[in-house]
């Protein structure tokens, strides 16, 4: 008898934690999607009204589009820069350890701190970037105030912040490339570029896919940067899906609708990750 319960007792900390902090919130959120609830008044059952509203909510679709724009700029930029830096840091250069640490530093600094720092850099009148542009005789750019530029500007900043992590991942990948491949290529008289494109890239392909998947998931959760820098403006050009969900939930206390948006958004991420997974597995 005692033997029968002991295993359950031993795994109970995990089960209790799972039940309270995962299963219940997920179940409750799904239940919320069928209700209207502003926290203070009792819940009101509304059936599928929240889902109906979602499909006609132009701002939500705009926020999804913004998130996609962010991803389209951010991911390729991130991969190219991270790969380039990893390749450099993989050479025998002076102060290699220092540089590796330096590029990783922004990753461990708090997102809010980085964002506030970049807000200063992007400032219209006193920002360093614009002062530099004026010094060299070019016009000022409304980094965060021009609706066409704000999102790319945020994507560049996010790249600067995250690139260190992917540099490390690529470095690991690069070091798994067997050196004899390069030796063979050297004997054949291959150039540096040929070696990179014909040997390095194909061998580190799995790493590239991993980076794509990780930065897609990271990119979908874009929140701090627009929340601190632009509040979603100008003209809603930087409102990300998560920021919009947050606004619905904690600005207007539309908990039911926010839960619906969150649920729908989670489904989209799931679909994207499933597709990516298929592609990765097919490639192998």
């Amino acid at each position: 008898m005692k033997k029968k319960y002991l295993p359950y007792f031993l795994v109970s900390p995990y089960l209790i934690h799972f039940a309270i902090f995962v299963a219940f919130p997920v179940g409750f959120s799904i239940y919320l999607t069928f209700n209207n609830w502003n926290i203070i008044a009792p819940m009101e059952f509304v059936g599928l009204a929240n889902y109906k509203r979602l499909f006609s909510d132009a701002t939500f679709w705009k926020s999804l589009l913004n998130t996609v724009i962010f991803l389209v700029i951010h991911i390729p930029l991130q991969i190219v820069i991270a790969l380039f830096l990893a390749e450099l840091l993989n050479q025998k250069i002076k102060f290699r350890g220092f540089f590796r640490a330096a590029f990783f530093l922004p990753v461990i600094v708090s997102g809010v701190v980085v964002t506030i720092l970049w807000q200063q850099l992007y400032g219209f009148d006193t920002g360093l970037f614009n002062r530099l542009l004026v010094k060299v005789g070019l016009g000022k750019i409304g980094w965060l105030t021009d609706p066409n530029i704000a999102m790319p500007a945020i994507a560049v900043m996010a790249t600067w912040k995250n690139v260190g992590l992917y540099v490390i991942l690529f470095l690991v990948g690069l070091q798994t490339v067997p050196p004899q491949y390069y030796e063979a290529a050297d004997l054949e008289g291959a150039t540096h570029f040929q070696k990179f494109f014909k040997i390095t890239l194909p061998v580190i392909n799995p790493t590239i896919f991993m980076v794509v998947v990780l930065s897609t998931i990271g990119g979908f959760s874009l929140f701090i940067e627009p929340y601190v820098m632009t509040g979603g403006g100008p003209l809603n050009s930087t409102i990300s899906a998560v920021l919009y969900i947050y606004k619905q939930g904690f600005f207007y206390y539309h908990m039911g609708y926010a839960a619906t948006l969150g649920f729908f958004f989670a489904m989209i991420i799931l679909a994207v990750v499933v597709i990516q997974k298929r592609l990765v597995e097919k490639d192998r």
């Binding site: 926290i39 203070i40 008044a41 200063q120 400032g123 219209f124 509040g231 100008p234 003209l235 809603n236």
Partner: protein
């Protein structure tokens, strides 16, 4: 050994969890705003009350720290740990709480209407009456938003005070605008308003101007948008011109040193709290004053503005509302209001504030506050609606598209805002 230490700690914890009401023998808990001056006032008034009525003790606490007092109150409502009395309720929040049934309808208390009629005029009473006809809040204090201006800068361009009409404002804007360092960019403006869409930023540009242009008209009435009118059109057209001509900067300048005191801008739409700030930080010889909000050219009545009213409510967790009301009456007496004015520099919302002899000496000592006292007759709060923040947010979105970026005409923007706001009310 460890156990011996642990038990008293646990006991202490359990004892301290006991509600403060029962352990300290108090009848009511009162929360005030948690800024230094208001805390000083609340502590004083509660002490006086407790000395006078030792059998009906009130315990004063500042509202607990949180990201905003609104958030703390919300958490308290959900946890049913609200105080009996709360004195810093933003008028726009009341309707949602009233509809949730967590506030006491004060008009059901004995003598309340007499008290209110004595304190406020009929327009104010109408403003605080909820959609269901009850009154859930007592008008307490206001901080009217009007023009703060740099006297010398306006004198230089031929104005002896801040502009009264839109044309005067635009004319002054043109004359004040300057590129002092010659880099091809304007670096001196007539004024500045935050360009972010955050809904409450409109309290410092669109909303007071709208109230001024319309003689204090509402934005929404009985769950319907009523702001798509001539006054709003004039305000949008005016502000759009201001940004188009670059009389206001579109970029944030709030990160730098104080733009007004450093002379980068000549005026601002702001409240009486600027006085304490300016007196502390102004450079030598700096002269400033206040003037009512600008109005359309053909408008010749007094200009209304937004008063940023904060009111007092009694929560339904209160076991003795009549006693709570008695305390509130004490805290809002003529004498207490004078103390409040002296300690905080904020205006009590009473109809006789500018004529009552009791306050005369204060205004003589603080002449800059006189403009605000004169304005007090012409202030509005917000409309009674449970979705007020969204109303402001939707207007703010259209404001940004029309006024700041000029991608919509004022008419288009107001039509779209009206449509979007009315969608909120469809059940």
């Amino acid at each position: 050994m460890k156990m011996k230490l642990l038990i008293p700690i646990i006991l202490l914890f359990i004892v301290s969890c006991d509600s403060e009401k029962s352990s300290r023998k108090v009848d009511m808990i009162y929360w005030s705003a948690n800024n230094t001056q208001e805390m000083e006032f609340a502590a004083k008034i509660v002490k006086d009350w407790n000395d006078k009525y030792p059998d009906n003790k009130v315990l004063f606490q500042p509202v607990p720290e949180g990201q905003s007092s609104e958030e703390v109150i919300l958490a308290a409502v959900v946890g049913e740990t609200t105080p009996d009395i709360y004195s810093n309720m933003w008028e726009g929040d009341v309707e949602a709480y009233a509809q949730a049934g967590v506030l006491i309808p004060l008009d059901t208390l004995n003598g309340f209407m007499d008290f209110l009629n004595e304190r406020c005029d009929s327009a104010t009473i109408k403003e605080v009456t909820s959609l269901d006809g009850h009154i859930y809040q007592i008008p307490w204090k206001i901080n009217p938003i009007i023009q703060l201006y740099n006297k010398k800068m306006f004198e230089e361009v031929g104005f002896d005070k801040a502009p009264r009409t839109y044309s005067e404002f635009l004319e002054a804007g043109k004359k004040i605008q300057k590129d002092s360092d010659g880099d091809g960019y304007v670096d001196r403006w007539i004024g500045y308003a935050e360009v972010t869409v955050t809904w409450w930023q409109r309290f410092f540009d669109f909303y007071p101007l709208y109230l001024a242009a319309s003689g204090g008209a509402p934005l929404v009435e009985k769950n319907k948008a009523v702001f798509n009118n001539d006054a709003a059109l004039k305000v949008f057209t005016f502000l759009r011109e201001v940004y188009k001509q670059k009389y206001f900067p579109k970029e944030r300048i709030s990160a730098r040193q104080d733009a007004f005191l450093s002379g980068a801008i000549a005026s601002r739409f702001t409240g009486p709290w600027e006085i304490a700030h300016a007196e502390k930080f102004k450079p030598k010889g700096f002269e400033y004053d206040f003037y009512p909000m600008p109005v359309p050219d053909d408008f010749d009545e007094p200009s209304y503005t937004y008063g940023d009213p904060k009111n007092i409510v009694i929560f339904n967790t209160c076991s003795n509302p009549s006693l709570a009301f008695k305390f509130i009456k004490y805290a809002l007496s003529e004498q207490s209001d004078l103390k409040f004015l002296e300690i905080t520099g904020q205006l009590p919302r009473r109809k006789d504030i500018d004529i009552n002899k009791k306050y005369e000496s204060y205004f003589e000592k603080n002449p800059k506050m006189k403009t605000f006292a004169a304005q007090a007759k012409y202030v509005r709060g917000t409309d009674q609606s449970p979705v007020l923040k969204e109303v402001f947010d939707l207007i703010s979105q259209e404001y940004e598209a029309c006024v700041i970026y000029g991608v919509k005409t004022p008419k288009q923007a107001l039509d779209d805002a009206e449509k979007a706001v009315n969608l909120l009310f469809i059940k």
